[in-house]
């Protein structure tokens, strides 16, 4: 195929794409005009039905909880995949975290970086925990909280050494926490089935005060389990990458 032919095929394809794209855009509702009615119905009934004021979480963990189980297991599978692909291969060896180019000065972590990382670790843990446990009351949730919790471990790495990071997040423990998080979500759904209710029905007491931390039944619990799963998955992925970068080298051991 000559470059000219190739260009014509590209132009034809691009023209088709643009035409369909514009056609699709012209059928969209106007900017800021929500056609409903799903969102309006949810807005009217969600707080009354679940006592959760974080309605986005209500949708994520209750009305569309089944979708979220799927997303949960996508992340679970991704973390498992990273752990499998990044394991030490037969032709690779592990060594201590030293620079490969001997004689080159390794720049020490600056005091400022260590200080800031140390200062932020505590607040970041609190914030992650708060986000993961307050999905039912305000905009937050297990996913956001979990990632924030995982960044606390990145801060530990920044403020210290790789070994300190490993000490705070042993792979066995992270694996277990991840499995408990992912399994807990599914198990809550199955518990509802065991009680003769549809999968993921909110079967726990909803509390009496809308927006209280203790309200919303399974929504809060699921968010907490999602937080565990996401935090563990991200710690696992970042840990595997750090190990690849710092410890694993080409060449048989």
């Amino acid at each position: 195929m000559t470059p000219t032919q190739r260009r014509w095929i590209f132009l034809a394809g691009a023209a088709g794409l643009i035409a369909f794209y514009l056609w699709g855009l012209s059928g969209l509702p106007g900017f800021g005009h929500y056609p409903g009615p799903y969102g309006f119905i949810i807005n009217r009934i969600a707080v009354g039905q679940t006592n959760a004021t974080g309605v986005v979480s209500t949708v994520n963990f209750d009305y569309r909880g089944f979708d979220t189980v799927g997303e949960e297991f996508i992340l679970f599978a991704a973390a498992a995949g990273v752990a499998t692909v990044l394991r030490r291969l037969r032709h690779e060896r592990e060594q201590s975290a030293t620079d490969e180019a001997a004689g080159r000065d390794v720049p020490a972590t600056s005091g400022a970086v260590r200080m800031v990382a140390l200062l932020f670790t505590g607040p970041v843990v609190v914030m992650g925990w708060w986000l993961a446990s307050h999905a039912q009351t305000n905009p937050s949730g297990g996913f956001q909280g979990g990632v924030v919790l995982a960044t606390a471990f990145v801060l530990i790495y920044l403020s210290g050494e790789f070994l300190v990071f490993k000490k705070f997040s042993p792979v066995d423990l992270t694996d277990v926490v991840e499995a408990v998080g992912a399994g807990g979500f599914a198990a809550i759904g199955v518990s509802a089935v065991a009680m003769g209710l549809p999968y993921l029905t909110d079967f726990l007491p909803l509390g009496t005060v809308p927006g209280a931390v203790s309200s919303s039944g399974t929504i809060a619990l699921i968010s907490f389990f999602v937080g565990l799963e996401v935090a563990a998955a991200f710690i696992l992925i970042i840990g595997e990458l750090l190990e690849q970068t710092l410890l694993i080298r080409q060449g048989a051991s």
Binding site: L131, Q144, I237, I238, L241, L242, Q244
Partner: protein, 94 residues
Amino acid sequence: MTLAVVTPYTVPVGLMDALQITILILVAAGATAVVLIRELVRQVLVLSVYGVLLAVLFLAFQAPDVTLSELTVGAVALPVILLLTLAKIRKREE
């Protein structure tokens, strides 16, 4: 059907429009910058800034939940993973 709730903190409609248009332009500029930058480490850092811009965009369009996700994933987790990958690749090239 509108769900306008006016509180002492409500931003006037005109101001909100201006904010939304500004952030849309900034996001478009940020995305272009990410694509155009060829030096990888620099590109990752700009990607992180772009994540923050996207987070502000979602906030300006009243999606605080998505803002939190974008802040944590787009501005922190993704750049960290990319930087670690770059470090690994560089080591092999040396």
